[in-house]
Amino acid sequence: MNAIEITNLSKFYPGFELRDINLVLPTGSIMGLVGENGAGKSTTINLIMNAISRDSGSIKVLGVDNQSNEFNAVKEDIGVVLDEAYFPEVLTPKNVGKVMKNTYRNWDDDCYCNLLERFGLPDTKAFKDFSRGMKMKLAIAVAMSHKPKLLILDEATSGLDPIVRDEILDIFNDFTRDETHSILLSSHIVSDLEKICDYIAFIHNGRLLFCEEKDRLLEEYAIVKMSKADFEKIPEQAIKGKKVNQYGVEALVLKSAISRTHITEYTSLEDIILFLAKGEKN
């Protein structure tokens, strides 16, 4: 059973459409959803949780159709962190704990308190006095304290400093030591996704450009810099994106099509995504 199965998903808004999304998140894996702001990541997440209704296609979460009556029970096993949607600001973490205890059947108070302590969140300080990082940490603590099988995180690391981000990524990494646990992590900070994801799905202008194993992407593609003359020699289908200026060409190519000597630097996931996105624009 897959953690998430999306088939032919579409949603239409005046001025924006999400079209023909097909995506599978295998159980036990971490999938990063990348895309620029407005690409459709949050819409996809809202559709997955049935917070907004879809115009076509089907979505199954943890094996259950998300529009069926059984889906509410499935929400017990899903931990959600959203970008900028939180608890009323006057609540303290302690208050939130009590509310969540009455919300989730499997609420684990010990786990919650441990996470609060680990994150250094004061029990009785009102939410509105928290920094952005602390707000995120609290949301994450809540999402992980009811024994979830699936974590859905929308921009859970944006706006956080690198140390905190690393700490949180570590926690997500640990979460999937259990093979029944899965994570869908949407972010525009590609370097974070590169650290822990198994799969990368790239959404651009409402379309899913690709969904690939992260390591395969890094194995297959490389950024090369060469003269225009050399560049002409590369077969067209091996070129996935390019930048031309008066001094030469910088391009994203399939490693198999070129000689190793042209590869002069490390190609990061971010480089790959940038080139692919720009390539689409052209």
Partner: protein
């Protein structure tokens, strides 16, 4: 068992893992019957994808270095003498190719090389 991975290497990550574990097995650092870390634990400890560690383990199993017991884990297989010999033969071939290349650069003939070989052998 040390596994050091490099992003800058020409080898894909799964290959690096494959090679390093294989070398540990061949060198005797990990012994026959020793249990390897689970695919998932290894992935999480190294902070890499489970897909990649699985690929490395699959290849190690395919090549006979390890075997899996369902529900329990992966273990180091009996040292296959044939396999190791084959490994070494391959290495020797690689060296010979390199020697040939260098010889060409220095303009040495085949007889020159054989003479050099004999001299070194005698010294031993």
């Amino acid at each position: 068992m040390d596994i050091i991975l490099s992003n800058m290497s020409e080898q894909p990550i799964y290959e690096q893992i494959y090679t390093q574990i294989k070398n540990s097995i061949i060198s005797g650092e990990i012994k026959e019957g020793d249990m390897l870390p689970s695919i998932r634990a290894l992935a999480k400890d190294l902070r890499i994808s489970v897909i990649t560690t699985k690929r490395a383990y699959d290849e190690l199993e395919r090549d006979g270095y390890i075997y899996t017991v369902a529900g329990k884990g992966c273990y180091v297989a009996k040292k296959n003498v044939e396999l190791i010999r084959e490994e070494h033969l391959k290495k020797i071939e690689e060296y010979i190719v390199e020697i040939q290349r260098l010889a060409k650069v220095c303009n040495l003939s085949r007889d020159d090389i054989i003479e050099m070989f004999n001299i070194i052998q005698e010294e031993e």
